[in-house]
């Protein structure tokens, strides 16, 4: 070993002596009865802060989500377990005594803020095929990174009414029209596509369905029923658009011949039952089987000649005391967030139902990014795009390493959805 190697090996150990490090607990913990977990720029680990709050609830502790206070801070009771958890995760906490808590509550009372009690640990399910890699889906990635426990479910569990035991369901970027994201022609022969088709076809046969589109429509209907019964649904990317297409196409053939053996009904667009859909209406279906696009719901049409460039989207401001749900969903330390592509990137305004709440849009553009609505006793939230930190997201791209994006505002929006079912239910005015 030569000097060059020696100096290299010694660098990491000793450099720390000269570098001031930031404490993970700011201020004095002497008389702390609670901790504020700031969610503004003082926070070192925005994403893991949600996991910290989630695990506190799992331990039976109760907390509060301080909407619009320091960009959506959490207030959690002091405990050894919380301190240990925060230290390991690197989450910034600020100790506060009772008097400070009272002052914070006063500020909240006097401003467009609110304190929402967090008391229930939501049972979280992610709909994803059994062979999906952990990095294949933004929500799976961020749940893992934040340390929020979830279970995977897929078609067999959904068909067997397995959603009943969950509060919250996220949809992996599934194609509920059963057309394998319409890559079957352009990527024919690709091993990953062949494996996907084989898995879906064998699952459909095993569950007694004639073909994959029939199975996926039945799954979509079970998911809609889950929402009707009071479930919280969150979907991203192409799951948003295709879920509604599957629901609205009852009794119609909207799948290409390679998926179900018969070509799609060329007049399907005019026969759709949009009353069954959650968010969209009056869309025109894409007729070409080789074009990886489903309809004109998506404003960006990433895989077509009508592809639109990426801009940035703005989060809306809501009244925390009047619209707490919408306010929870947009808590963030940034109001303008760079856009990112997905197979479905955005939603054209002209295709939204009248009662849809827009949470974020691109000003001046004919599309919106982030929407929310209710169905029966439950709610759904759709977020366009695939991965907030991988704007182009081409097949084969390296997986996103969230430890390099601990403050990601896009990913924060996903986690707002995970935590909002934990909020104590009360009369909501939205």
């Amino acid at each position: 070993m030569r000097r060059r190697d020696f100096v290299r090996t010694g660098i990491a150990a000793s450099a720390g002596l000269f570098l001031p490090r930031r404490s993970w607990i700011l201020g004095s913990a002497a008389r702390a009865t609670s901790y504020v977990i700031p969610m503004d720029d003082a926070q070192d680990e925005h994403l893991k802060a949600y996991g910290l709050a989630f695990r506190a609830l799992e331990r039976g502790e109760r907390g509060e989500w301080l909407l619009n206070y320091r960009n959506g801070a959490f207030l959690l009771p002091a405990s050894d377990a919380l301190q240990r958890d925060a230290a390991l995760a690197g989450v910034t906490m600020e100790p506060v005594d009772d008097a400070t808590v009272v002052a914070i509550k006063g500020e909240i009372q006097a401003s467009n803020m609110d304190a929402i009690p967090l008391e229930k640990v939501p049972k979280v399910a992610v709909y994803a095929p059994p062979d999906a890699a952990p990095w294949d889906d933004a929500v799976t990635m961020v749940l893992n990174y934040a340390g929020i426990h979830f279970q995977r479910v897929w078609d067999p569990e959904v068909i067997a009414n397995g959603l009943d035991k969950f509060d919250w369901l996220h949809l992996h970027h599934e194609d509920f029209t059963g057309q394998y994201s319409k890559f079957a022609i352009t990527s024919a022969g690709a091993p990953w596509l062949q494996a996907m088709m084989q898995l879906h076809q064998s699952t459909a046969a095993r569950l007694g369905f004639a073909n994959v589109p029939d199975l996926k429509r039945a799954v979509a209907q079970r998911i809609a029923a889950f929402v009707e019964r009071g479930g919280f649904l969150f979907a991203m990317c192409t799951a948003t658009e295709t879920l509604d297409l599957a629901l609205a196409s009852e009794g119609l053939d909207i799948a290409a011949a390679y998926a179900d053996g018969t070509p799609m009904d060329p007049l399907a667009s005019s026969k759709m039952h949009w009353d069954k859909a959650l968010a969209f209406r009056d869309a025109q279906l894409e007729l070409s089987p080789s074009l990886a696009a489903f309809s004109d719901i998506d404003g960006h049409q990433v895989n077509t000649s009508e592809r639109q460039p990426l801009g940035a989207f703005d989060l809306f401001n809501f009244s925390a005391k009047i619209d707490p749900v919408a306010t929870m969903l947009v808590q963030n330390q940034r109001q303008v967030i760079p856009d990112f592509y997905g197979l479905t990137t955005s939603f054209r305004r002209s295709r939204l139902k009248a009662d849809v709440v827009v949470l974020a849009d691109e000003p001046g553009a004919p599309w919106v990014k982030y929407i929310h609505g209710e169905r029966g006793k439950g709610t759904w939230t759709f977020f366009g795009g695939h991965d907030p930190e991988d704007p182009q997201h081409a097949i084969g791209n390296a997986p996103t390493d969230l430890s390099l994006h601990p403050h990601s505002p896009g990913y924060r929006l996903l986690l707002n959805n995970v935590l909002f079912p934990a909020a104590k239910k009360r009369e909501l005015k939205t």
Partner: protein, 587 residues
Amino acid sequence: MTARRGPWRGPFSLRWVAFVLLVWPALAAAQVQTNSTTTPLGRALMAERNGAYADAAMQYAAILKLQPASVGALLGMEHVLPRLDRRAELMPLVERALAADSTSVGILGVAVRAFATAGQSDSARKYVERWSAGAPKDDDPYREWLEAATQSRDLLQARLALDLGRQRLGAGALTIERAELLQRAGDVAGATEAWVVVVRATPPFRDGAVGALAQLPAAQRGLSRETLQKDGSREARQMLGLLLGRWGEPAEGLAMLRAALPPDPEGATALLRSLFDELHGRVDRASRLAGAATLEAIGQRESGPAMAQTMMAAARAFADAGDERNARRVLAVIAASPAVPGGMATAASTTLLEVLIAEGKPAEAERALGELGSKVDVDEHDRLARRVALAWVRSGDLSRAEQLIVRDSSVQGFDLRGRLRLFRGDLAGANDLLKQAGPYDEEREQALARVTLLTLIQAIGVDSVPALGNALSALERGDSARAISGLAALATTLKPGGAAETRLLAARIALATRDTAGALRLLHAADAKEAPAARAAARLDIARLSIAAGRPAEARSELEQLILDDPESAVVPEARRLRDALRGTIP
């Protein structure tokens, strides 16, 4: 228009050509009159240029209402309607334009693209037929159709366009488009054969063809390689040589290319340059050696100063890749050449000096430095002197090393003089000189290394420790075992803080020599509460060793203890990241 275009051309090229030919003159004419907004088309274009697409569309529509066959306005609509999510409005405009003028190339071009994009291949074909009837030898109608279909990912339609064009114009038409389409459709062997046909007909397309095939996924490269070998022609072998360079087999690529070089020197040099351009900048040794050999092959085909320059570059490349023998051989060729100018001879001598240092011949290197004398500037002379001094250190002669750099007052000079004091065990002197060198350096790594040494010196807290000098000198000479045993023995005589840092250093040397058991013992010994920085660093290394040994639970426990005990340590972010990886929460 029959000019050929390469595979790198942009989409919808004809549309832009038409735009330039048809629309821009209108705008230019408008500018001549008064300004660019005096004509309706000029105003519409300005609105489009300003991003006011809705306004532009309204103005284009007004023009088309009066002049349905206005190509400029129709092209404008083709641009702006998709941006407004109103593509469907284009089709009736196209039909009206065709009704007004069914032979205009501009209108037919829009019609072909519009129908192709909409997936209406029969209509697209109808207008291609009409267009080609007026220009039966022109391949543009088919190319426009093919490109629009390809843009829409409609490969079946693109194939229709290609087949029709080749049926009408012969097998020599649309060859580039055919190769692209076959490759896009996943027909690797067919695409490879098609690219060879392109290169054989038009040699300047070789780099483009190679660039296209180079993008094949690793799993498909074997088939492409077999296809080129089976073809066996000079063109195929040249392409394979260049491809192997791109695919990480540079030596094989160079050999293949050399065997397929054309007889004319210019052609051969151009091919070798293509390979060198591909290898240039790669850091793996095989690519660097192949790059050096490629430069030498180029130099052998040149003469005069150009030859000397290329051969010098080859010698440096060999030396940088660690092949001193070939570096010296090429330098000898340069030195023996009467055509080499003086400056180049100095450069050759400098390179030779560095080769001698790399070969561990300090006396010969110092002699070469003396011969260089004032032929190089002071800074360069000092730099070379420091390198020769280090070569003396490695040979065990500290005095000769110190003599060479005694007057060097640069940052690097103070740094090296400080290290030489350290090698003698003079920690106080080393501390002074290293501090004089300051916290900055040309390379960050060097500055951090200096900080590391100062940390060690301060932790030991004694003015003179010959045992430390002996251990570090042994390390500089490459005797790691002696350095480790020396540092371990020294640690037993030091206070806890210095002992921990010394053991940590010894452990890192042991790790570098793959003595895991020895390293682990030293790391555990460095885990002392009196030295929190060393303790945290040692625990991080212990965790890494546990991971390497397949004991993730132990590693995780070690990392968590590190984070909780020393939350202020600089290694905590790395510890958290490693813990996340163990939990499977990051890739």
